[in-house]
Amino acid sequence: MNQKNYAFRKKVKGVLMAGSLLITSALIGVNCSGFKATADGSGDFGSLGGADKEMQVGFLSSEQMLKSMISVAGVESLGDVATPDDSAIDMTYQQRAGSLPSVQNLTAATGPTLIAVTNLASTVCNKSVNNDIAAGSPTDRLFFQEVNFNAGLNQGAAAFVPGFERIARNAWRRDPTADEIGYIQGFASEFADGANLTDKEQARLLAVSICTSVLSSMDALTY
C-alpha cells in the first residue's frame, strides 16, 4: 500500500473523475449503435444490438454493479473492508447507492447515475491498480504488466494499452476493437500533456483513469 499516494489521491479525485468521465463519454456508444431502451420504457430490460437483431439486455442494478465491478477488476472480496481501499469502495457504494440504478432498465442510465457509476468505478479501480502495483513482479499483475509505475509518463502511452486491453476483456467480456484502443492511446497521450512526466503518481493515476473509463462504460454496465 502506497501511503503517500493514498493521501495524494484524495486531492486529485476531482481531476480523476473529470478525466474518466471524458473518456467514458467517448467509449459509451462504441460498438453500441443499436443501443436503446424498450420503446415504451415500461420493460425492465432494454434492447441492444445491430439493426438486424433485437437483443434483451439488462442494465445492472446498484448491487449487481458493485459486485460486477469488483469481480471484473479482480478485487477479490467485497466483504473485506478492513483495508483502506476496501473501506473506500464500501463507503462510496453507501454514499452513491441512492443514485445507482434501482431497476434493471436502460432508462435508469441518467446523467447523475452515470456520474455515480464513474465514482464507484474509480474507487474500485484505485484498489485494482494498487493491487497491480503491490504485485511481486510485473507478470504477477492482473492488468498493467507492461507499465513501470516508478517511471512516470516518460514511458509513453503505448505501455498502458495492453493493460487497457486486459481490463476491457474482463469488463466488456470481449477484446476491444482497434478504434477503442486508438481512443485510449489518444487519451493517454493527452493525459501526459502538461503533466510532470517523471512523477510516478501520474502513471498510477493514468492507469486508474483507463480502468475507470472501462468499468463505467455501457458495455460493462449491461449484460
Binding site: 448491487e63 471484473v72 473492508v81 478492513a82 492482473l142 474482463n170 467480456r173
Partner: protein, 753 residues
Amino acid sequence: MGLNKNVSTSAILAAMGMMVTSPAQALRNQDMSGNDSGAAAVYLFDENGGDTAFDTSGVAPALNLKVKTDGNLPTQDGTPILKNAQMMGNIIYVNPKPNGAETGDPMMADKGYESAQRHRTFLISADSSGTPVTADKLNSCSNGFTIQAFVRPYFPFQGNDSGNLIVGLSNSMANSNNPSAATSPVNFGLYQTGMAGAEAVQLQVRNAAGAVVSQTSVAGGFSSVRAADNPGRFTELIATMDAQGLMTVYVNRSARSSITPFNRGFLNSAHLVIGNDLIPLQNKLDNGQTVIDVSKQRNWSGEIAHLAIYCRSFTRAEILGAVALNKASSAVVKPAKTAVADTRIQARKMVERLTGGPIPVDHPMVVDVEAKLIAGDRVAAAKIVTGDAAAGLAGHPDFLNVVVKQLAAKMSNREETIRVPLNDMSAYFIGITRDERSAKELLTEDAYYMADTTKANVRSDMFNDLLLSNNHYEDLDNGHWDLGKVLVRKTGQQIATTMQGAYTPNPDPAGVLTSRAFMSAHAIAGTNRRLVEYAFREFMCVPMSEMADTSASPARIGRDIDRLPGGDAMKFETSCKGCHTVMDGFRGAFSHYDFASTAINNVTYNFVRNAQVSAKNTAFGFPNGTVDSNGVVRKMTHNEATFPNGFLITDDSFVNNAVGLANKSLFGWRGAQARGGFGVNQFGRMIADSTRFSQCMAKRVYETVCQTAQKSDSKVTPVVESLALKFEASGYKLRSLFQEAAANPACASGQGR
C-alpha cells in the same frame, strides 16, 4: 428490566445471541470467552463496589482507575449529585442516573443526556490515595495499540457533536474551572458519535501537530438504547492502529478502516479515563448571569462489561479469523490472450444470467460451462452455476446472493422494488433454493432462515434483531456476507410478547406469509385485504383486477364496504363487488394478525402481533379496543355502520370465491383447501397446491433468468407452462427451476449482449 446480576456477563452475552467465534489470538471472543493475554491493561469490573477498578493485566505498573466526581454540578433542583459510577456484577455503570434525584438503583430510567452533561463522573488512572497518575505504559504505545470493550450506551446521542468519550488517554487538565484552559486531543480514545439512528464509534488519535486524526465505524451498528429498553445487550468494540497508520474500528466485528500516514504525537502526560474527556468546566454569561457551561463536556453514559488495552495492533485475520471466509468474494480472473470463441460467449451469457452480472470470459466457471454446452448438456451447464446437491456442485455465490435475493426482494415489499435490505422473506427464498426444499414450504412451513452466528458476525438477538427489527438481516446485507454459506434453517416462527424480551411460538405460521417482511409490508394499518391482494400478486402472478368476479357471492363482503357508493347500487354490483367478493372471502384467514409500530420511551418498535398469543393492553400486545372478544383485530371489523348487514368476521375462516369459470381455469385449484379453510397456514396451502402457483414461480424465474420483457400482466406462455410442469415434477425445487429455465432454448436465444 436490568441484567440478572447473579449470572455472569459472558453467560448473558451468550444467551442473548451474540455470536461465538473461533478463538482469536489474544483478544477475547465475542461471547467474552478466551483471555486477554498480552494486554497492557485489563479491567474486569468485578470489584462489586468500591471506587477502584483494578488493572488485572499483570503488566507493571498496574494502572488502576478511580471514580472521580470532581467538579460535579448541582442538579437544577439543587439535589446533590451522587457518585454515579458503580461496579456491580462484572459491569461498571457510568453515569447511569444523571439526574441523581432518585436514589439507589442505577438502572432506573434517566432524564436525558443534558443531565448527564451536568454530572461529570468519570474514572481516571490514579494511585491508592486517589491522586491522578499518568498512563505511562499506554502513552508509549505510539507504534500500535488496540482497545477491546464490551459496552452498552444509554443514549443514541450522548450530547456532544464531537463525540463523547468512552475510554481513552486524555490530555486536558481536569476540573480546573479555568475557562481559558486549552484542551488537547487524546493520545488515543474511543468516542461515541453520530445522531440517533446513525450511532457510531470513532477512534481518535493525536498527531504530532496536536490535531485529531480519526476513523469512524459503520454507522447504525452501535446499539444505543436505554438499559430498560434493551436488556442484556452489549456491543463489542475493537479499535486498532498499526505502525503504518492503518486505523480500523470494528463494531461487532464489522470493520471500517482508513490509513493516513502521520506522525503520532502522544503526550506522556495523558491519563487513562473512562466516561468523560478531561475537559475543564467553563463559565459563560447567560442572561446576564454567570453560569457553568456544560455544553462542551464529553460525558459518556452507559455500561462497560469488559475492557482490555493492548500496546500492539491486531490484523484483520487475527480479529476475524475463519469467519472472514464467509464474506462474499469473487474469483480473480487474469485475462487470457486467446480469441474468444462463440461457444465461450454462449457460456458467458448463461453464467451471467444466473449470477446477475458481467463475468469475465476467462472465468474458470465460464470455461467449465462452455465444455458442457459443447457436449450438448445445457442443464448440466446450468448446474455448474446454480450449484446442485446431487452433483456436489457449489455453484457461483452470486446465484443466491444476487439473482435469488433480488427475485425475492422484489416480492417482499409493497413497492416491488429490489432496493430494500435483505429481510426474513428474502432469506427464506434463498434458503429454500439452496437446500432444494419444496417451494410450497414458502407458504406453509413453520420455519425461517437466519445466519449461523458462528459463521457471521451480525446482530442476532431473536427478540431485538429479528422480531422487533430487521437488524439481523440488514447486518448480513451491509456486511456483504455470503448468504449461501451462512444461512441456516430454523423451525418455529416466533412472536414477541413482552418488554422483557419474551416471545412465543406463532400459532399460525405459514412460511413467508407470516414473515416479518411480508407482514410489515401488508399488515400494517389497513384492513388486511392487502395481505390477500399481495399474496395473489406475488405467488399467483395475478393482480386483483384480473381475478375480480362480479358473479360470485357477496356474502363475505365486509360491513365497511358501501353497497351504494355515491348512491349508485349498480356501481357496487358491477365494480366493487367483483374484487371484494374474492378478497373478502379470503381475508378472514388473517383475522388474528396485525403489524404494529409502537413508540415506547422514545424508541419505536415494529413487530408482528397475533391476537391468539399477544395479550391485550401490553407492550407488544393489543391496546384496548384494537382486538375484539373473538380475537379478531378490530381494523377488520370497523366502519361497521357503512353497511351493517355486511359480513362480520368472527374467526379465521376463509372461503374461496375465486371459483367462477374464468378463475377456476386461471388458478387450477387443487388439494384439501381448494374451497376454503381456517387461518393463514391453510390459506398458504391453498395457494401452494394450485397449478397457478407453480406457473407463477416458473414465470418469475424465467423472466429473471431470460430477461424477456417483464410486464406486470399475468400471461403465462407455453414455455412457462412447460417449465411449471418440470418444476412440479422436480418436487417444486427452485434451483432445478432456474436450471431448466437457463437451459431452455427459447431462453438462450434471447440472452443478453
